[in-house]
Symmetry: C2
Subunit: 327 residues, 2 copies
C-alpha cells in the first residue's frame, strides 16, 4: 500500500522530470469566494494533466527488465497521454488501447507521444481480453489509471508540493478540493498531506449525477455510479472509487463536494480571465466548488487542484461566448 | 543606470511577492519549431503580465516618505494593473490616468485592484498636464512604463529566472526571444543574461508595421513607428524605444525579429492547446517567432518569453474557431 515514504520516493524519481506546477491566485477570485483561493495549476503539467506523474512513477518503479519489455494502458484520455509520454522518455514501448471512436485528435496525440495505439470496437471487442493478450504475447505490463500503489504515489507528489507551497503562502489550515474520478489523485494527495501538512485536508469534488465517491464516503462502502457516460466532465468519470483508493479516502478525506456540471464552465471562464490558465471541465470542478459553492468549506483559505486542461477548442470557444470576460 | 546588482536587489525585494513563473515546453511545439522550445510563462504573473515586476520594483524602491504619498501612472493596459496592484500591496495610493474610452472592463479591473482611476478625454485633455498637477498637488510619484532604472531592474528579474531555469533544463546557449514594446522587458532581460547566462542572448520581437526597435537596432539610432494604433498587439506598441532602454538593447541584443500579426493568433492557439496557457497577441509574438519563423534563430534550442495574457474573451473565442485544436 502507498505510504508517505513511497510518495517521497516517487518525488525523487520525478525530480527534473515532472514540472513543479505553480500555486496561482488572484484577488478577483478571492473576492468571488469570500476567502483566499489558491489554485494548484496541474493543467500545466506535461501532457496537460497530473496523469504524467502517476505514469512516470509507475513506469520508473518497474524493474528494468520488465520495463524494457514495455507497458500498456486502457484510456482514451489523460492517462493515455501520461503513460505514453512517460514510456517514451524511458525509451520503452507503450501500447494504448483506445476505442476506435475516440476523438481523432486524441488518438493522433497519443501516437505523437510515441505510443502504439491499438483501437478496438467498444461494442464488439473485449478490451480486457485484448489487454491480456498483449501482456501474454509481448510481455507488456499494465499501468492502471488509479488502483496501483505507484500511480497513487506519483499523484501524491502533487500533495507534497501543495504542502510546501501552502506553507510558503502562509496557509497551514484549509480544505484542499480535488477533482475526483477513481480517487488516485485524491488519495495520493490525502496521504501526502497527512504526512507533511496535517492542517490541510483533502476533499473530493464530483459532478452531480456522478457522485460515487461522495456517496461512498457517506455510506462507508463503495457505491457505484448509475451511468458513466454523458458527462461534460468525462476525464473524471469512473464506475466507482478504487479498491485501493477508497480506504485511503475514507480514512483521511473530508466529505465529498458535489456541484452542477455547468459550474465547471463558469470556473473555466474565470480561470481563463483571472489566472490565464486553460482547464477542461473535469479539471475545473474543484475550482468551481471553491468559487461558486463557498458554503461547502470553512476557514480563511481554500486550495483547489486544477487537475487538467485537455479541452476541445470548440467547447472552450462556446463557453467564452456564454460567460465572457467576467466569468 | 540599471545593472546586474540593481536587478539582483529588485529580485530580493520581489521575493515572495512576484510569482516565479514556470518555463514550459511541449514535444509538439518542439516538433513545429524543429528545435527545443522553452516558454517563460509570464502571463501567469500577478495581474496577468510581467508588468507587476517592474511596478513592484519601482514602488518598493521609493523612499518610504515619498512612497506613502502615492504613485501614478499613465496606462490603459498592463502597466496600469501592475502599478495598481503593487501600490495596493504596499498600502499606498495609486492614481491611474486612463483615457475615458478605454475598455470598461480594464477600468473596472484597475479600480478593483485598488487604484483611483482618473479618466481624460484623449482629444480634449492634456494628459501630461493632468499628471503634472497630480504630482504637484498630491505629491504623487510617476512610475513610467519602461524608461525607469527600477522598472527595468524589475523586468530584469525575468532574465535571472530564465538563466537558472534554462541551466536546469540543460540549455546554456540560445536566443531568448522577447515581446518588445518600449524595451523595458527586453533590456532588463538582456542585462540579467549578460551577468548570469552569457550564452543566452536577448532578441526583441515586434509585429510588422510597428518594428521601431528592430529598425533602431539596425540603424544604430532611435527610429519611430509611423503609427501607434491599429495593431492587434496593442500591449507592446510604443512610439519608439526608450532613451534608457535603447542603449542597453544596442549593446547586448541580437537583431530584432519582425513577424506578421496574424501569426500571434496561431501562436495563441498553440499555447492554448499545447501549454494550457492563455496569451494575448502582444504576449504571444515571441512564441510566434519561435514556432512559425524558426529560420530567424539558430541552434538547438530557443527560449520565448510569453509576456502577458490579458486578452478579450471574444477575440480568443474567434481565434479558437479559426485555428482550432491543432493551432
Amino acid at each position: 500500500m502507498t505510504d508517505i515514504a513511497m510518495i517521497e520516493a516517487a518525488a525523487a524519481r520525478l525530480e527534473g522530470r515532472a514540472r513543479r506546477t505553480p500555486l496561482l491566485s488572484s484577488p478577483f477570485l478571492d473576492e468571488i469566494a469570500g476567502r483566499r483561493v489558491l489554485v494548484k495549476a496541474e493543467a500545466l503539467q506535461h501532457t496537460g494533466s497530473f496523469k504524467f506523474r502517476g505514469g512516470w512513477s509507475a513506469v520508473s518503479a518497474l524493474d528494468p527488465a520488465t520495463r524494457d519489455r514495455g507497458v500498456f494502458a486502457y484510456s482514451s484520455g489523460n492517462h493515455a497521454q501520461g503513460v505514453a509520454y512517460a514510456a517514451r522518455l524511458h525509451g520503452v514501448p507503450a501500447v494504448i488501447l483506445m476505442p476506435a471512436d475516440a476523438p481523432r485528435l486524441k488518438i493522433a496525440n497519443t501516437r505523437a507521444l510515441g505510443a502504439e495505439v491499438v483501437t478496438y470496437d467498444r461494442a464488439r471487442d473485449d478490451r480486457d481480453a485484448l489487454g491480456a493478450r498483449l501482456a501474454r504475447d509481448r510481455g507488456l505490463t499494465l499501468i492502471k489509471p488509479f488502483d496501483d500503489p505507484q500511480v497513487i504515489a506519483g499523484q501524491g507528489t502533487v500533495g507534497l508540493e501543495i504542502a510546501e507551497q501552502a506553507a510558503a503562502a502562509g496557509v497551514s489550515k484549509a480544505d484542499v478540493l480535488v477533482c475526483c474520478g477513481g480517487g488516485g489523485l485524491t488519495s495520493g494527495i490525502a496521504l501526502a498531506l497527512e504526512g507533511r501538512a496535517p492542517g490541510l485536508r483533502a476533499r473530493p469534488v464530483e459532478p452531480e449525477g456522478y457522485d460515487d465517491v461522495a456517496r461512498s464516503l457517506a455510506s462507508g462502502r463503495i457505491e457505484r455510479n448509475a451511468r458513466i457516460s454523458g458527462s461534460l466532465c468525462d476525464a473524471i468519470i469512473t464506475p466507482a472509487p478504487g479498491e485501493m483508493t477508497f480506504p485511503i479516502m475514507q480514512r483521511l478525506c473530508g466529505p465529498g463536494v458535489v456541484v452542477p456540471e455547468r459550474d465547471c464552465l463558469r470556473a473555466m471562464a474565470l480561470a481563463f480571465t483571472r489566472l490565464k490558465l486553460v482547464l477542461e471541465p473535469g479539471g475545473a470542478i474543484a475550482l468551481a466548488a471553491a468559487l461558486l459553492h463557498p458554503e461547502t468549506v470553512q476557514g480563511e483559505a481554500v486550495i483547489a487542484v486544477a487537475s487538467g486542461g485537455n479541452v476541445d477548442a470548440g467547447l472552450f470557444a462556446r463557453l467564452l461566448g456564454d460567460f465572457g470576460e467576467a466569468g
